[in-house]
């Protein structure tokens, strides 16, 4: 697969789409499973995982352990569920065709 990709892969510049899917990380932010496309960089997944785990840990230190965290960006909804020290993270790109007003979120 890797060789095929090397031989047929386009050299054209390519913008990276935000994938829709989920992945799980353990307490050390190691990627355990993923339903995201292979071309979505693992580094990006780890970056997201680290922020999520840091937020879960900080909440625990503040004596308010969290089980779920939903972050609404203008073009992405990120949902994270605590998973015994790790986390399961869902990426849901948002579309202009399905506008979600701030007041309708929570």
């Amino acid at each position: 697969m890797g060789l095929l990709k090397f031989l047929t892969g386009s050299r054209e510049p390519r913008l990276m789409r935000l994938p829709s899917g989920s992945f799980t990380v353990d307490a050390n932010c190691k990627i355990m499973t993923s339903t995201l496309p292979q071309n979505f960089p693992e580094g990006r997944m780890r970056e997201i995982g680290q922020q999520v785990l840091a937020s879960f840990r900080a909440a625990k230190q503040a004596q308010m352990p969290l089980t779920e965290l939903i972050i609404h960006f203008a073009a992405l909804k990120l949902l994270a569920r605590e998973l015994r020290g790790g986390a399961m993270i869902f990426l849901m790109p948002q579309s202009l065709n399905q506008p979600t007003k701030l007041s309708e979120r929570v």
Binding site: A54, P93, V106
Partner: protein, 361 residues
Amino acid sequence: MVAQPKILLLDDDQDFLDLYKEMLTQHLSCLPEVRTASSGSRALSLLESEPFTLMVVDLNMPKMDGLQVLSIARRKYPTLKLVVLTGIRDEQFRTRAYAMGIDQYWIKPESDQEMGLFMESIESLLNREAQGGFRGVQSKSLVDIIQLECLSQSSSVLKITNGVVEGKIWIQNGEVIDAEAAGITAEPAFQRILSWKTGSFEIMPADSLRPRAIFTSYQGLLLNTAQAIDEAASQPEPVETPGATPVNEQLTTQSLLVEVSQMTGIDFALILGKEKKAEDFWGLDNPKPVTTWLRQTIDSFKELGERLQVGEMQQITATGLHKKISIATAGKSSLCIGFPSATSTDQMRETMRTIVTKWVS
């Protein structure tokens, strides 16, 4: 009207740059000065060295893609008008580009007619005065729109949105009969709505059952409002001490917390001000741990949003074993509301909507 607008064209295709430079220079009546850049870094250095009115950006470029350029340009040059011109027909990129605050998203024209429309839209953008205005009717203020409705003896409801705040003005047979915004009604609400400088509006069908709450003529209303706005503008600016919360902001925050404390189904409220030290809270014995978590979470996810190019972070919802937390951000301020864990999503949504409306307005 801009004297001689300057346009910056960014694309990695030199032929495209040459063609569009010629088209824009020759076909726009405002005779813009057009500069070109074939890479994101070159475009950014040009923006650094001279002011531009508008930048046209391609998305698909090597090294630094268009979204990265847009993200930096929007942050560093908030008044620069941004137009995406790309061959990518992808809903997600359109959404992300608009999330970054672009003005228009165009697919590269494939016919003379499309090219004509593109040129017209660029011309219109360049001519738009930089003093705000409401989306939907370019270069028209809300006062113009109300006058238009009243002069034509219309009956309608104007729904005006300013960020997360929403207001409504009821017009019946050319007279303003009521207004509503941020929990207030009648004339004060009308004045509040007219103080908004930007936003969007839609004209909705008339509501004949709405009881009349404003009895002043629309001319009188507009005069009173203009006077109130002028008086507010002529008030001297309070002297700010670095690191301290401005007196007005402190009063507003405190009155909001008093209101929140009287609402049912809320455990705590915490407001982080623009300054790092400024914070106010209700219902927390020790706000420090929550504040620390809040600041860390908001800062880190804001950074993540920038890196992922997904636009501004708007809201966070957290569910814990004992509490549910909702966080809204507006500019550099953040509002954190704690709910009991049994609160339903609908209840949270409704309560948060009420509080955020009061807070932002």
